[in-house]
Symmetry: C2
Subunit: 537 residues, 2 copies
């Protein structure tokens, strides 16, 4: 069996920037072929970035993608390239072009189109019913598949039945906690089923809510892991395949679970900020744990010189809050300034007094303060061109314990998919790695409070987070009903209360900024309940 | 041929309120059978409301729908009932239960599942590959189809081939301008193709962005329109079918095009407000045409006693603006109050002065004022439980000529799918119908201005609306590229500028409240571009 040297180019694409993506492909192709590669594999829809969403409905966009593939093919020499693009062929296909010798040798079209969770591929693409051609590359028969094709046995079995000695599977597979272990178990099984090596290349980088985590993989025909690329960064893996064997290669160690989530937040934030043309971010620092984590992630994503913190104390803020926020800012080495909101707070009270006469203070007055802060951060954002990062966590987003246009205001909601209990774990992990209290211990120790009225605590309105978070996980991520939650031991009244809070606050979440998806089901395109909805859960 | 009397129950469902929907079905069934109907037809997914979206992923919800259908069937006598529900049968189907004599006689499963525009049916349902049973109802063979099944010839041809003498087509078909004419042309063609009468029943009512416009239809086997129900309201049509003939019945005249859009806005607003449990709404009245139209729609939707207007003049507001807003409020008979925003405006300036020192006023100071207004209306909303209706039109939403968390703040954006030029037409139509200047003539006459700096006009930042709106229509609704727009005579520089504005403001639209879809492609679930997107258009 001839030896096939494969370069696995785990790249970060930018949606819509076809020229830039093509240049990255050619750079990777040149680097891999300089190392003697016979075949260079690129991710799914690398030419356009993934997911291009409704750009795929624009004929000019699809035509430009085809033209770009033509240019890529024209640049190839003897070594082959496999690269993902949308192919217009009467209908639109999610396709992979196999190019060599200056031309497109053939095209594989994806057979299984995911249309669940964050995926809408059936909105755009037609599923192929054909296993596609097997390509002779340097004397080895190579079968091509795309992402979801590997999640059922059919397509890879068909490729092997057509004589494929190596299976290439190109991906744009987004991250969630635990995802890479699922992928690895599955790919090992697929390789064993057909006794053929599988080369799995994944996209890397952030795109709106999604983070593609890289971690590209190679299995030999016995289903043994032979190579693993880095997570959350571009990488090039090179492997020598002598089917069904693969020579031992570099196997990166995956991150521990909490660190892995942290790295997803960092990459998702960096790419959202930078790919949207921003350099700097602004964070409202309350002295609480959520904004402390967001600031720390931002510093790791962008550098301390690109992060600014603003403290916006009100008449109800404790001295400890401002001190803690200042301690954090100093520890991180970020710019910070303090703008007490009392003048605006007093002005609004005066303006509203005639209308509110005779009414007791309630949630309206609390939200008012949060919205004054929202206005200040947005005005600074507009003035200096800094993107505002909002700091609400998943527990708050679920229950609506947040003010629309107030603390929810911002361009990106870094931790909106991170439950409060995981917020603590992330802070402890980051402190441990720093070897010092980057997030001050006082922030970790004090009970959470919005400080919008005297002596307020989160637990005035919400269950303890260690009680709340598992209910949210069951109701939101598990689609369990109140009855099902009660049947497995959760207090029925609590389950009913949480379900009601989750459902009644869908209208707020619909107006929230995007944030990094790190769970199996994030608020956003992953979860699409109606707003107008009387189902009791 | 026996005579089949059919009752077409065009009902307004509430998503998730299965008991209430079932009661409405039974009331309609009883009313129709009291009129001698042999068959009563109800809309698609009437049991759950349409679209139930991700509620369909919850097993308890789907089980409850099945249980509800069982209860409905148990209540039937000799006359048959056709009612839409989600059927769990290993896989999930968009189905119609045919019930009579206390039992479910059989189930039809939808064959064509729309997964484009606002539809995501392939996210939830499996497509049937089976034409389904033909049902003997009072001696007549009745074939059942569901909505999209009628949009290609196959399913109706198959039902006729299986012996159907009448085709029932149950629908949840959302409105856009011009939609009913398309439906009518299509159904006439389908009836002619098979020579069999078609009974088309549509849902009516608002559900989040969508308005189902009713207008149920009956065609005889020659493709002649025999009956048409009312638009935008519940209705019951009764027809006597003697296949392939149908006895002449009631044919409602559809609304004129501008009036039709107006009625869609009224129903969409009424149902969003009421189905979400609100009775009253609050509108920030600027004295401009957009807020004038929204207030007028709100009064028609909810009654003047349920609408409040607040005027929020700033140092840049003209006297004419407040006077025009007051004139409008008085003419509509709504509550109104005036809260000058100067105290808060001055307070923010003072708070921000140290940070902004040495910088000239710019957009930041303009947005600040809009966000002060946003805060006031939201604080009043929180205090009194009134839903805020925001007033941005489609031209503004497209170009981003609106302040996020400012004038964009609210629970429902009534006219977000109405281009500015259509805003004028709607006001003129409503005034003509009123026989007086419900919307003051001065509001119609003055040049549009945000009044956020001295002597500001919309045309300082935007092209004239009669130039802008056709470009938006081509770029947004038509998915045309800049080059394609230029090729059909639109100034290339203008097209490029508009495309850039549309694309760069996707992040704002993503945080906008929902509003009524009245066009072929509305911002919202209808149009899903990435935010992070470097495609130049």
């Amino acid at each position: 069996m001839p030896r096939l040297r494969v370069g696995i180019a785990q790249l970060n694409a930018v949606v819509g920037d076809l020229d830039r993506n093509a240049q990255r492909v050619l750079d990777a192709y040149d680097a891999a072929t300089a190392e003697g590669c016979d075949l260079v594999v690129l991710p799914e829809l690398m030419v356009t970035g993934y997911p291009p969403e409704d750009l795929l409905l624009r004929p000019a966009f699809v035509a430009a993608a085809a033209e770009t593939v033509g240019k890529l093919a024209a640049r190839t020499g003897d070594p082959a390239m496999v690269v993902g693009f949308p192919e217009q062929a009467g209908r639109l296909y999610n396709a992979a072009a196999v190019c060599a010798g200056g031309a497109v040798l053939g095209v594989y079209r994806k057979q299984l189109l995911p249309n669940y969770a964050v995926f809408d591929e059936q909105r755009y693409f037609t599923a192929s019913t054909d296993a596609g051609p097997v390509f002779d590359i340097a004397g080895v028969r190579v079968g091509v598949t795309i992402c979801e094709d590997a999640w059922e046995p059919g397509p890879i079995l068909a490729a092997a039945a057509h004589g494929a000695e190596v299976i290439v599977n190109i991906n744009a597979s987004p991250y969630y906690a635990g995802r890479h272990a699922e992928r690895e178990a599955l790919l090992a099984e697929r390789a064993r089923e057909v006794g053929v090596p599988i080369v799995y290349v994944n996209l890397v980088g952030g795109q709106d809510e999604l983070v593609f985590d890289g971690g590209s993989l190679v299995y030999d025909g016995a289903g043994t892991l032979v190579a693993r690329a880095k997570q959350f960064t571009e990488d090039m893996l090179i492997v020598d395949v002598e089917a069904p064997s693969v020579a031992p290669a570099r196997v990166e160690v995956p991150f521990e679970p909490v660190r892995e989530v942290y790295e997803a937040l960092v990459l998702g934030t960096r790419d959202y900020v930078r790919k949207n043309g921003f350099t700097d971010v602004l964070i409202s620092l309350s002295g609480g744990i959520d904004s402390s984590l967001v600031a720390t992630v931002a510093v790791d994503a962008l550098g301390a010189e690109h992060v600014a913190g603003v403290m916006l104390p009100s008449r109800y803020s404790s001295e400890g809050s401002v001190a803690d926020a200042q301690l954090l800012a100093d520890g991180l080495g970020i710019r910070s300034f303090v703008i007490p909101i009392e003048p605006a707070h007093a002005a609004f009270e005066q303006m509203l007094a005639p209308v509110f006469e005779g009414r007791a203070p309630d949630l309206a007055e609390e939200n008012l303060q949060a919205r004054i802060r929202g206005n200040v951060v947005m005005t600074i954002s507009n003035k200096f061109g800094w993107m505002v990062l909002s700091c609400g966590n998943k527990s708050e987003m679920a229950t609506g314990y947040a003010t629309l246009y107030g603390d929810m205001a911002g361009g990106f909601a870094v931790i909106k998919d991170v439950p409060k209990t995981l917020v603590y774990a992330l802070c402890r992990e980051r402190n441990a790695r720093a070897g010092r209290d980057l997030i001050p211990q006082s922030v970790l120790d004090k009970p959470p409070s919005a400080e919008l009225r005297p002596d307020q605590k989160d637990t005035d309105s919400l269950p303890d987070y260690d009680v709340l978070d598992p209910v949210i996980e069951g109701y939101v991520e598990g689609d369990e009903s109140v009855a099902e939650l009660a049947a497995r031991g959760i207090d029925a009244e609590l389950a009913r209360r949480v379900a009601r809070m989750v459902d009644r606050n869908e209208y707020k979440r619909r107006q929230a900024p995007p944030g990094v998806r790190v769970s199996r089901k994030a608020f956003g395109k992953d979860r699409r309940p109606p707003i107008t909805n009387r189902w009791p859960g």
